[in-house]
Amino acid sequence: MKIDKVKLKSTANRSLTSVGVSVAAVVIALVIGMLLVVAMQKNPMKAFTSMVNGAFGPGYFTETLVKMTPLLLTGISFALCNRCGLTNLGMEGQMYIGALFATLVGAYVTGLPWYIHVPLCLIAGFIGGGLWCLITGLLKVFCGASEIITTVMLNMIAQFLIEYLINGPMIATPGGNPQTKNVLASARLGTLIKGSRLNWGYFIALGCIVLFWLFISRSKKGYEVRVSGMNPTAALYSGINIKKNILLVTFLAGGAAGLAGCIEIMGVQKCIQSAFASGYGFDGIAVSLIGQNSPVGIVFGALLFGAFRAGGNNMMRKAQVPDSIVNVIQALVIIMVIGSQMVLEIMNEQKLRKQARKEA
């Protein structure tokens, strides 16, 4: 294949730089994090090894994969919007509503065999999150409201709506813990390895990564979305309907985040409890940033942040280092990645300027 060689040559260099940047960002963030551990007069080597063990050691790795699952989906959600020039900060809320729809179908619709009930719940979760995010799209298209504001506001609304429901109308046992009924056995995602929490949801999330790739890089609609995101004026002049694309993308992105909430319920938690999304929605932003909105990048970003979540627990237990240090490291990773992207841009600009001078 001659064609691929041309492509390989010209893209390999660029991909290598961006991979290098992301890896360097993680390493630097880890080093700074460990310096903080030293400052706390704890053993950094012990902290580090216990974190790595907690994330990748035998018996622990499945937990990393469990935590990676929702991150894959919220990462897709953010990336999809970003490709269309939108900033979706509402994955957390979309997860809640996705979980709500899935629970309604999973716990209250009875008498279905699993092969109908499970897909039905997944579809319900997708539609729930999608509609929730579509509100943002509609507000943007018809009122010009900034999606940054509306998504954050919808997060609050979703969170308090769930609080209300699990304390009132949907509470499993009145007077008991504020949580909904468990989803029925026919609506649960089966575990893959006995004794772990790893379930089929993981593969559903990976499947979504493939679909995301197919949509964004190979489909005509995805091409339109990318053009709208990178240059709305050019899109306008070539007759692309940006408004329609915004509506489509907000629905799909919300759907992906909704699926994250839905899988978390159907595969791991079984019922909705207060604040069950625990920041998976917001971490999706970081996952997508590190992965530079690319499908493969999101897989690695989600793996990294899943590992941080799983490893942090272990570090706290084994090395007595508070797991908030992991939050610090995560934040450092984000700062490093954003910072290095700026550095790359500046370097690129200088290169172009030099080139222009040579030609002039």
């Binding site: 041309v6 492509k7 040559k9 489909s219 005509k220 306008l236 002049y237 007759g239």
Partner: protein, 513 residues
Amino acid sequence: METKQNENIILEMRHIYKQFPGVLANADICLNVRAGEVHALLGENGAGKSTLMNQLCGLIKPTSGDIVIEGKVVHFNSARDAMAIGIGMVHQHFMLVPTMTVTENCLIGATDAGYLKLNYKQAAKRISELAEKYNLEIDPEAKVGDLAVGQRQRVEIIKALYRGAKILILDEPTSVLTPQETGELFNMIRSLTEKGFTVLFISHKLNEIKEICDRVTVLRLGRTEGTYNVAECTVNDLARLMVGRDVSFSIERKEGTEGEAMVQVRNLTLARDAHTNLLTDISFDVHAGEVFGIAGVDGNGQNELVECLTGAKHATSGTAMYEGKDLGKESTRQIMSSGVSHIPADRHKAGLILGMHLTENLILQDYYTPKFGKGALLDNRAIDTYASELIERFAIKTPSRYEYAGSLSGGNQQKVIVARELSRNPKFLIAMHPTRGLDVGAIEYIHGQIMKQRDDGAAVLLVSTELEEVMKLSDRIGVLFEGKLMGIVNPSETTVEEIGLMMGGTRLEDIRK
């Protein structure tokens, strides 16, 4: 007619150079302005007027050269420094906060605004006094958003006076005004200069300069052409000075292939609001095998005209018929899929997606057709073959077809757009500023390509502010001024002066009377 260096100079700019990355915007510009005069700064777009004025009001610093005010060399670090020394600028697009009152607007950035509490009452009183003294009728308590455009401009002038301006810079002040408002503005200017203020009047409208200004400095291509007494110049002189050199007509042109009228524009009108129009009653034909050029100073309706013909905006009234369709009403997709091609004015903003590969840029107009994939997916192999073909056929210099459009040189970027649009074999080609900012070689190439389309029987609408380009390529030329067509001329039967006059707002009938 060149004036001598004279007594009573209040402002002098000596040998100003301003270098932007890749562009020398001002080269050795000298300007001297006498106290109490109205001094015009005349030049086409890109002549360096705005750059020069931005240096004078402290927004940017000159690369070299001195600004001398009342005999002292000054250095401005910010707009505030310039204001403190008595330079007030009234921008073409007003810098006012619509939700605030006139007084509040005047206090923005003023030194005596007060720290914790605004000195509001005091300021309002001073504004009333100023208004009375200089015949600038205005209510200090009025909300700026409620005022008419002419009144807003008055607020800008008062704002400058309030801050102690002695030299007023008016940047294209009449471009947003009705003729009546223009008259009022001129009265204001006269009463200000009587009281000792100096006015720098930036414009390309020759009649206005003739009417209100004492002296004029002409800028062309970033250099000073000279300073003249307006009384000693005719409007025709000014036109020639602004446009400059004689225009050369050297391009190969096959004669007489002109066919039927491909596009018929009739009374095309686009409203800005209830009272003013962006385009008024535009009518012209573009025939097959003809280049119809649109000349005019930038911002006189060219953008709007092209937007109306490409579906980006819908005409308020009038029609633009093309193959039984009304371009003023159709959607962009419908227009572009029926044999119309468009080379947009700004290649970075509208023509290319800089962060995408060349391949992806080259299919922008046709990606949805079965040629590039039968179903919902794109056929990468077809796209690659197509892209390689175009890169070769249009001699686009690039390391590979997967290069980002943003990393090519300007000439090659423009070639990408030309390749994309011309390879569609358009029946109607709209080209706007197709060679802006390109070097000679690239210009020649693109001119050649456009002429080839014409010779092959396409109707071409060429919009450009480069008069030379329009005169060289066009079979007929229409001149736009404030959204109106001043006249249609044949380049072989017209003169630079005639076109210059039309660009400055005189109708063809009036010139040839």
